[in-house]
Structure formats: C-alpha cells, structure tokens
Subunit: 416 residues, 2 copies
C-alpha cells in the first residue's frame, strides 16, 4: 500500500519533469527501447518461460497461454511496434487554435500531456511495451498493472525499457509497473485521485466492470463490441455477402467482428439461403429467428433473447429478419454496445438515416465493421477502443492520451 | 428508486428522439422557454417564497438565501440568458474533419450529442434553467438534481420549461428534474451506467468529493480554484499591482479569484509595502510569510502551512516571498488546484517557462486570473470550469457537452 503511494508520488514528480523533455529525446528513448528488447531477448524469454510453466501448472486455458507466450519472432514484432510509435508525429505542444479577444487577450488552446496514465490489463506482455511506448511518446508517465500470470515477463520487459529510456535522459519514474498483482492494490490504484489523471482498463468484461465500479479517478471505458451488420432491402447482395462474411469470419475473436446479422424481410428469401450456406461452409454456427428458418433450416439453431445481447467472439452468429430500417435501428440501439455498426444499402436516404440514428462509436455504410481500429483509421497507433462518449470515442490514437491547457497572453488586462 | 430508473429510462428514449430534432426547433423551444419564464413570473416567485420561508426557518445562512432568492428582475435576467444560448451556433452535426484512406474508405469525425447529461448542484435555481438550456441547445437530455432548499422553485421552473419546450415539438422526457432530493437518490443517479453518459457536479468541495467518490458514470470534475499570482523580479510593478488587486478583490467569492500572492525576493522591498497597503485599504486580510514582514508588518498575520492550500473565496490573501521563478513554479504546482495561474513579468524566457511548466487549466502572462470564464474566453456560455484533464479542461462551453462519432462511407470494403 505505502509502496503504491510512493510509486505514484514519484510518478507525479516525473510527469512534471517529462514536460520539459524534447521530442527528439523521447524518440531516442523509443529507439533505445526497441534495440534493447531485441538485444535482451534471452532474458525476456527466460522470464516468460517461468510465467508459462506456472500458468500451465495452474491450469490456465490454451487461448490465454498463447497470448502470454513470447518467442524471438514476437519480441521482434513488439520492438518493431515501438519503432512505429517513434515515427509518428508528436502531438504534444501543438496549439490547436489561438484567438484574440476584444480586450486584446490572446487565448490559445495547447495540447499537453495527460500527466500520469494508469493501465490495467490482462496477461498480455505485448501490452506492457505497447502502452509504455504510447505514453512515453505523448510525454505521459505510465503506471502499468498487468495480469499476475505475466508478472515475470512484464517486470523483465519494464526493467529493459527503464534501463534504455533512463540511459538517454528520460526522467526516472516515467515508466512504472506495479509488481504487487493483488486485487487490493489494483483497487487502490483505481482510487489514486490527485496522482492518476486517467485510467484505461484493457481486457474482458469482468475487468472493465471492476474498474468502472471501483475507480474514483477518471476512466476511459474500453468495452465489448456487440456489432451488427444490417442487410437492407436495397442492398447489393453480392457486396452484402462479402461484408457479412468478412465481419464475421475474418477474425471472430476481436471486438469489431459482427455478432448479429439483421436481414430486411424484403430480401430474406434471396439472401438467407446464400449467406447461411456460406457461413456454414466456414464453420459458423447460426442461431436464427423463427422467420429465418422458413428459408433455410439445415443445422440452424433457434436464437434466444440472450443471443441478441451476446458478444460471442467466436464462430457463432445470431441472425434476425427485420421489417426494414426502422426495426433494424431499434434493434441495434437496444442491444448494441455502442461500438461498430454497418448497413449495406444502395439507398441514399436510408444510408443517411442509419449514419444519423445509430448510436455507436463507428457507423459504416457498405463496409465491414472490422475496420474500427487505430491503424485502419490512419492514426498509426491504438491504445484501445473507447465505447464511452466522454473524452475519446472509438479507436484511441496518440491524441486520446493528451489534454489541453489554455495559455493566455496579456499586457496588463484586468476584469471590469 | 424505481421512479429514478423509470425517469432515466424515458430520458434514454428521449435522447434517441432528440437526435432527429433540427436546430431551428431547439431554438424555437429556447425562445418559448424564455418567454414563458417571464410570463409565468408570479408562479415562480410564489414557489420561491415557500423555499425561502422554509430555508429561513431552517436557519440557512444569508449568502445561501441570497443565491436562492428570485425576483422579477432576476427572472428576466435568467430568461435573457436562455435567449443568449439560443443565439449561439449549434455545434451538433459539424463534421470536424473527414479523410480518405488508401482503400477508399472515407472516415469523418462528426460532432454528436453526449446523450443524457446529469447535473447535481446546490440551491441555485438559476442553474436549473441555465443547465437545461445548454443541454437542450446541444441536443442532450438533462436530468437535474438541485439542492433540496430550492426544490419548489426548481420544480416550478422545470414545469414551465417542459410546457414551453414540449409545446413546440421537443420530445417528452428531454427535460427532467429529480424531485426526490434525498442523498440516496442522488447516489443512485451517480451509478446509472447505461443511462447517464456524463455527470457534472456544480457546487462546493463536499458535493464534488461525494460525486467523485461515489459515481460510476463518467464525471467531469468542476472543482475549487486555489489560484496564484506570481510577481516576478522583472515585472512592471504598476501592472503587477493592478493585476493582484483585480485578481483578489474584484470578486473574491469566485473560483478564479487569487488566493495566494507570490513575490520574487528581488522586488520584495519595493512591492510588499505598496501591495500590502493597497490590499488593506480594500479590507483584505493578509496572511504572510516571515520574510514579508521585514518589509511591512502592520496588521499582517502569519501564514501557516494550511494557508497555502486554502481557497478562501473571501477578502483574505496568503503571501509568500520566493527565490525567483523556480521556487514560484514549484510552490504553485505543489499547492494549486490546476485552475488558473498568472505570472507578471517583462522577461520573455520566464514567461515561456511559466506557460510551459505550470500545470493548470489556464495559465496567464500579464493578466488577471479572473478571466477564466466561458464568456470571457468567447465561448458565449459556460456550464462549469473543469479542473480535470480528461474530456474538457477549463471553461466548458457548448462543445464540452458534445461527443463525436466516426461515420465511415465505403463501397464494399472488406478487411484483408
């Protein structure tokens, strides 16, 4: 407990010093970090091996073991990611706009670091490097608290990053990891008001929920994606088939994959048999409404109420026939998690209504939901996808890690 | 409890409908509200009279009675404020920027309403109208929870606003007041995740603290202002005197008034006697460091550690002599509440260092801290002054009540 307060207190001091660090030094530090990760690959792998052995002994499931596991190739990839962050434009210091008031005061809105950013995540060592690099690039101090299964990998990665960054002049205390992976310490971190300026949880539902319920510091919620594709009566059905298949099967485990397909009843007879066959050929389990089964019922399960709410992250798709755009919009706004939603249509007015009326971070016309991603959007990086409306919404690039400050230049103005 | 959930649930539905309401209708509703407030002045005053009588009987202190009290002139002023909000540009619908990706996807960042905004405040009926008008202008549903002392005034004002707005077509449920002023209901409102998109507390320390500690919905903290003026060794001392006096005495009760004066020791002998005399002539109580008293000690109290931390909101000023800019910056960053800070200097390098190194929402060179205000900044309105770094910092105008949504226009793009 006292250790956490001391660490946060040093972090606060480092944040103040980081403000004065020029862009070239941050980039030099990122370069040094990338080099050191590759050079010290053996150390990382040795630490990771211990984590993996413990995890296996504790019966951790295979998917998690895969995410936890590091090899030289993956480490090279992680280092490459750091170099990509180095190459991005530094957003800090930009004066977004500046204006002059009638009394002669010049007021400018300047982009500044957030200060101290805490990130709570699961057993994914790549997040340790990724998050630290993005924070450093934006002059933010990072306090990382990863899953206990990856603790040896994470502390080793952090030590390597600290050595590299501090050796080129980055203030000590700028990169931090919480070594105590107890729940109590995590909960305490969520309440470090005055020390932590922003907390980003990255992980599954349980983690997000715990953070939202316990945190008293400002949080950006990065949550689940119950995403929909709506195939409208005026859709190009070939395009619709491509988009549905891509949104569902190109990578089902991620948050921007589709979980429910809505089909306008006007094209149900033509589209249902074609799309169901294609989905089944790719091994997708279909859970459909009664109406669907009139058109194709081979190996099609019945959808229950909970299917409309579920983010499967798997080769499963819920399907419902709807009575046109109104019902589609209503269904989506009722069940979605405000992440990514797509309509396929050639009708102009309906495309506009969908864009306006759907409440989500990203709303698509005639494209796959899978594009909701900082890299695909052209931000060059991503720390997560926000599903809240405050501060940042959708893919969070470097700018989402910044705040602003008003700078006011006067020549003696006083208020009358 | 169930009543709150029902109200929030209806608010959510109204938020969806408000998205389709055009700007002209919102302006018409604001016009109707302003007219109705003036027309129905008698009703408002009758309700207010009951509140005032109860408050007096309960021994409420005079300053609060004054803020609670309404008369025809004040009601006219409140209505005028609504007309000013009507005249502002509607920020909703603006596409902030739009770009095309190599694959032909067009991605636009569009300004949308936050959705449902809850505001918890004290016994100030003017906030009821002000907050409702700003939310309506930005297509947000408002849920207001004011202090119990003003409940009759608030419900009457709300009824008048609802009648006026709904009569011109604003969806029912867009304007709400919580009539149950118990603490339990307020706490429950702070936890209405999924219903409330943003919660803004407006009031004193206790209220803010309670919201920060209890809320699980996203909060914008509008907090205290422990503001400083630093008179540098290179200051124009006439200008410095004007700025110090304005920052302290022009309106001591507000958050952007100065609470501590820091004086560079290089000019202490010249400046201390002049400024102390001027302050005392205006009835300001001085609490100064030991060093100060060498230059002027008539009726000057000793400053204690807690004086550096205190927002007096009164005719009291803490004063400290510092050893130049470094100590000034260190003192301010240690004790300030990240609100508004000013340096008075003719030295270019020192002005730049102060602007860069002070951590606050508004940092001034050669101007009074009293300008931190949405109207003075040219925003035309203000819902509060944020002292957190997330989402909005400093004076919050209409834009602070908006979120964004990515709209993505494709022609069949799928992810490879």
């Amino acid at each position: 407990m006292t250790e956490l307060i001391m660490k946060c207190s040093k972090a606060r001091e480092a944040a103040q010093k980081l403000i004065g660090v020029p862009s070239w030094m941050k980039d030099k530090a990122l370069e040094a970090i990338a080099d050191a990760l590759v050079e010290r690959t053996d150390e990382i792998i040795a630490a990771n091996k211990v984590d993996l052995e413990n995890a296996e002994a504790n019966g951790v499931r295979k998917a998690m073991l895969d995410r936890l596991s590091l090899d030289p190739e993956r480490i090279k990839g992680i280092a490459e990611g750091v170099r990509q962050v180095r190459d991005l434009n530094d957003p800090i210091g930009e004066v977004i706009n500046m204006w002059t008031r009638p009394n002669g005061l010049q007021i400018g809105k300047k982009r500044v670091p957030m200060g101290v950013i805490a990130i709570i995540y699961e057993a994914r060592p790549n997040v340790t490097v990724d998050a630290a690099a993005l924070c450093l690039k934006t002059s933010n101090v990072s306090i990382l608290r990863g899953g206990k299964e990856a603790i040896r990998s994470n502390t080793t990665l952090m030590k390597i990053m600290q050595d590299a960054a501090y050796s080129v002049g980055i203030p000590e205390g700028s990169l931090n990891i919480i070594e105590d992976t107890s729940r109590e310490t995590a909960t305490q971190l969520m309440k470090m008001n005055g020390y932590v300026d922003m907390l980003i949880p990255r992980g599954g539902k349980g983690l997000i929920k715990s953070v939202v319920e316990n945190a008293t510091v400002p949080v950006v919620e990065t949550a689940a994606g119950n995403c929909h594709v709506y195939v409208d009566g005026d859709a190009d059905l070939d395009m619709a088939l491509d988009i549905v298949m891509n949104a569902k099967v190109q990578r089902p485990s991620v948050c921007n994959a589709a979980e429910t397909l809505l089909i306008d009843k006007a094209v149900a007879d033509k589209f249902v048999p074609v799309v169901f066959k294609a989905l089944q050929e790719k091994g997708v389990e279909i859970r459909a409404c009664e109406e669907c089964k009139k058109y194709y019922d081979k190996d099609v399960a019945d959808a229950a109420e909970e299917d409309w709410e579920t983010e499967y992250n798997d080769y499963i798709l819920a399907v419902k026939i709807v009575d046109g755009l109104d019902e589609a919009i209503k269904h989506i706004n009722k069940y979605n998690t405000k992440h990514s939603e797509a309509i396929v249509t050639e009708n102009y007015t309906k495309s506009q209504r969908f864009l306006n009326e759907i409440d989500a971070a990203a709303v698509y016309v005639n494209a796959s939901t899978r594009f909701t991603d900082g890299f695909e959007f052209g931000f060059g990086a991503e720390i997560g996808i926000s599903t809240q409306k405050m501060h940042a919404r959708g893919p969070m690039g470097l700018e989402a890690l910044t705040s602003i400050k008003y700078i006011i230049l006067g020549n003696g103005q006083i208020r009358g």
